[in-house]
């Protein structure tokens, strides 16, 4: 526990020392909110309450999903090896980073929700708080997988590959336009990605439908995603010659 607190605190201090980095992960969803949101809200497709949950999943992808970028430098400078030679468990080495990324994501999510509120979003407080909880689960999985990817692929490939992979994942989640508008084939492909369920679960929370099956699926899929992510991330940290 001491080790986890020490690692998370250390990484958080570093993140808060870098205000630009803190804001950067939220730039894309923020641009969509301000430049696309007003169009969406008047398009007749849906309201702010439909769009903002999607933008929160987009935020997860661009913020926690890109977290692995930071470990590339730690790997290059020998920091990772220095940590691996300590008695701290490998899952703790991973979670120290992941918890930092989750805190950063929550701060960014609150900022996005506050900005959306100013633009016209209205949702029940309980729904918003539960949405933040669901986002936390998603962030744990995303950040863990991001580290696993960063430790697996060639260092220089991480940024271009991940920023490309994020685009179809975001589009297929129905974050920008609800998948109810999709042709059948696109709807099927979309159902194969975990973020579709997260988006619909978050929309249910923003609508106050706490007993809906969309929410149940969102919770189940996000939890499973987090478990798989942490398992894969830990395996990469255990890898004998990382």
């Amino acid at each position: 526990m001491t080790a986890l607190a020490a690692l998370t605190g250390h990484y958080l201090r570093a993140s808060f020392g870098d205000k630009f980095g803190l804001a950067f992960g939220a730039v894309q969803p923020f641009l969509y909110l301000v430049l696309f949101g007003p169009l969406f809200a008047r398009s007749g497709v849906g309201s702010w309450e439909v769009l903002v949950p999607g933008l929160l999943v987009q935020l997860g992808l661009t913020s926690a999903g890109m977290a692995g970028f930071g470990i590339v430098f730690d790997h290059r400078f020998g920091v990772l090896e220095r940590l691996r030679v300590t008695p701290v468990s490998r899952v703790t080495l991973l979670l120290g980073r992941v918890l930092r990324d989750t805190v950063v994501l929550l701060i960014q999510a609150v900022a996005i929700i506050a900005a959306a509120w100013a633009l016209g979003l209205r949702a029940p407080l309980a729904g918003v708080l539960l949405a933040l909880l669901l986002i936390t689960v998603l962030a744990v999985g995303l950040a863990s997988l991001s580290y696993a990817a960063a430790l697996t692929m060639r260092q220089e490939l991480f940024a271009p590959v991940m920023s490309t992979v994020v685009v179809p994942l975001m589009l297929l989640s129905g974050a920008l336009l609800p998948m109810s508008l999709a042709p059948a084939w696109l709807d099927v492909v979309s159902r194969l990605t975990p973020f579709r369920y997260a988006v619909e679960g978050l929309r249910a929370l923003f609508a106050g439908s706490y007993a809906s099956s969309a929410l149940a699926w969102g919770v189940v899929v996000s939890l499973a995603f987090a478990v798989v992510g942490v398992a894969l991330g830990t395996r990469r940290f255990q890898r004998e010659n990382a």
Binding site: T2, A6, F77, P87, E240
Partner: protein, 247 residues
């Protein structure tokens, strides 16, 4: 302090280490020498739990390498060749974090860092980054990083490579003092054979993944009728190169 039998490591078809037996006693300074690519770093990484051996057995600082890697990690310090601190991070924070990963409270970690930095002639560098430090300072900082938890055994991978002669001599003074004062056991690799001659109690020479010579510097020199360790080194390593040249 180290007892290894039949350690091997293969990477795909490549046999990097082909069966090494090692015995290092408490308080010894042992030099591990060999040409580039001979298997020095691979062996060091196996003994420090960073690389799982393909076969063999080993006890390091009293803990079994396979059954209790965490026990090994608690008792050893490892200073890698390329250093271990990112150039943009204040070194004090990195040192305190490292100390806390060995279970020290924040307050005790801070005290330990201050003491250790003073001992290694680096007082008051906590707020600086390695980008503003000399090569010798950086190496001493890396060594401080490896000593935070008072290990019984310290592994140093080419600690003096790239340093000027003054910094090298200074680093060696520190290593010798640590052995004399704390009884620290030191296992190190180096390419500077005259250093190994002057400072190591024993040297092991590895070539093509096997130990080809072992003993005190004096034993090795008299055994090969050589005046310097360089001559011993050239006699026992690089057989393939000579065979190629002859053919």
């Amino acid at each position: 302090m180290i007892h290894a039998r039949g350690l091997t490591k293969t990477f795909g078809p490549v046999e990097a280490v082909r069966g090494i037996d090692l015995d290092v006693s408490a308080g010894e300074i042992v030099g591990f020498l060999g040409p580039n690519g001979a298997g020095k770093t691979t062996t060091l990484r196996m003994l420090t739990t960073l690389l799982r051996p393909t076969s063999g057995t080993a006890t390091v600082a009293g803990a079994d390498l396979f059954a209790d890697p965490a026990g090994v990690r608690r008792r050893i310090g490892y200073v890698a060749q390329g250093g271990a601190i990112a150039p943009f991070s204040p070194v004090g924070e990195e040192l305190v974090l490292q100390a806390r990963l060995y279970g020290l409270s924040r307050r005790r970690a801070r005290e330990r860092v201050t003491t250790l930095l003073a001992e290694l002639d680096l007082p008051g560098v906590e707020e600086r980054t390695t980008a503003t430090m000399s090569g010798g300072q950086k190496r001493r900082l890396d060594i401080a990083m490896g000593l935070l938890h008072r290990p019984e055994l310290l592994f140093l991978d080419e600690p003096t490579t790239g340093l000027d002669p003054h910094s090298r001599a200074n680093l060696w003074d520190h290593v010798r003092r640590l052995r004399e004062r704390d009884g620290l056991t030191v296992f190190l690799t180096t390419h500077y054979l005259e250093e190994a001659d002057a400072l190591c109690d024993r040297v092991l020479i590895i070539d093509h993944g096997r130990i080809v010579a072992a003993g005190t510097p004096d034993e090795l020199k008299s055994g090969h009728g050589a005046r310097t360790l360089d001559e011993v080194f050239l006699a026992v390593t690089g057989r393939e190169l000579r065979e190629e040249a002859a053919a």
